[in-house]
Symmetry: C2
Subunit: 288 residues, 2 copies
Amino acid sequence: MTDAMIPADRWDTVAIVGVGLIGGSIGLAMQRRGLVRRVVGIGRREESLRRAERHGAVTEATTCLSEGVADAELVVVCTPVADIVERVRQAARFCRATALITDVGSCKAGIVRALRRMPIGGASFIGSHPIAGGERAGPEHADSDLFVGRVVVVTPTSASDRGQVARLTRFWESLGATVLEMTAPRHDRIVASTSHVVHLVASALAAATAPAELRLAGSGWRDTTRVAAADAGLWQQILSGNRDAVLKSLDRFERVLLRFREALERQDTVGIERLLDAGKKIRDTLGN
Amino acid sequence: MTDAMIPADRWDTVAIVGVGLIGGSIGLAMQRRGLVRRVVGIGRREESLRRAERHGAVTEATTCLSEGVADAELVVVCTPVADIVERVRQAARFCRATALITDVGSCKAGIVRALRRMPIGGASFIGSHPIAGGERAGPEHADSDLFVGRVVVVTPTSASDRGQVARLTRFWESLGATVLEMTAPRHDRIVASTSHVVHLVASALAAATAPAELRLAGSGWRDTTRVAAADAGLWQQILSGNRDAVLKSLDRFERVLLRFREALERQDTVGIERLLDAGKKIRDTLGN
């Protein structure tokens, strides 16, 4: 499971705040690998906590955050991005001073900036973003191998304790991930183009298709618009949370699109093929 | 295999001009269903004809079109779109007067217009477009079930012989497809938005991603840009061949994109969510 040159840390108690696909997969992955004794799931809806328990993603569950994080050495906040700052602050008030708190939000700069000043002598917060997920939400789709071979970005600041950064890195590595460390603003600039604008464009493509036209939609349309099926509320938070970088990345996309339009308008077949070939070259570097 | 209320026609000899994934799949599908005795593959490259033979997609192969189509009752032209008109004209000169000629090109109006005047008393041409394909090209990926459950558009004109239209419809149905009949311009307007602009946008998205950013590209980026890996030369022909409809459909996409941009710029979270939700509603109607 883990390719541990440094042995993976074992934890007594881990708290997962928000037990959906990602939170549930973390709980399941840690248990399957024998890395934890207790996984406490914390959520607002009893019903989804029950599903997480039934699926084995957590060993116990509570709707009370202060109680749920009390014994945790590691707290992972997996809520929608707009709730993360508040949940981390609450967790920090009630968990041990030695605890490590992280999150899994898709935009990081706003969160890291808001949480720069944590209570003196209290728990450490360091941001994380696992580049993993799936089309299906909910703890019942939790997968103990969701992070295997995936990249997790961690975004410490200059004030972060390097021991805690190393501990967070080992945590993600113990689930099979590769960890990349970078600043939160750099992370946000990159995911604006690899994820957020991609999502926005896929959604615009879907919305620009008339329902009556869908009978002629094939696998190309399906693949290209697949992410548009994701939760609109969650993605509004992500796009809004990374607004400046998204707008800059959108500029870049629109410039390429304009070159396509101009080449088509002037019937420049060589230019069109060159543009398609540039896209193909980038796409081919990743494989299917 | 076929849900034939009207029994499927059986053919003695079918000629496939251009034996790639689509042409090869037609040959394989007809043979597996016992619908044909001889499938003659016609191509320019000996090597790909040999691969088609080895894969069982054709029963014989030749680089000589006049010879290859001589005995055919059905000729299916599966070449890149820019070559279709010329290949149909050649086939019509050398095949029987009773033969039915069709193609599988992704844009139809230009082809149908150019072929409106076929030699008096000669073979009939009626355009087809199977909404099927795959990421992998070449006859070695031919699949006898490629058309099962797929839509094939056929685009007769007011001058088309209705008996031949019915024959063409039965042909595609015998391979498991559902046939939709519409005019070529209407087909082209629809596929401009369900396919051609989708392709252009996916390519622009890929091209707008810097190679160094790809380490943070997840399944969303992969799905959304997948079609950008297709052959640039073939797609240049398709985009150029359907230029006017593509530009109009691009207008429509850009108007939606502009609404996203404006909502983001004015931090209109309700507006962003509404736009995302409109995309999700369309996407959800198709399922995964």
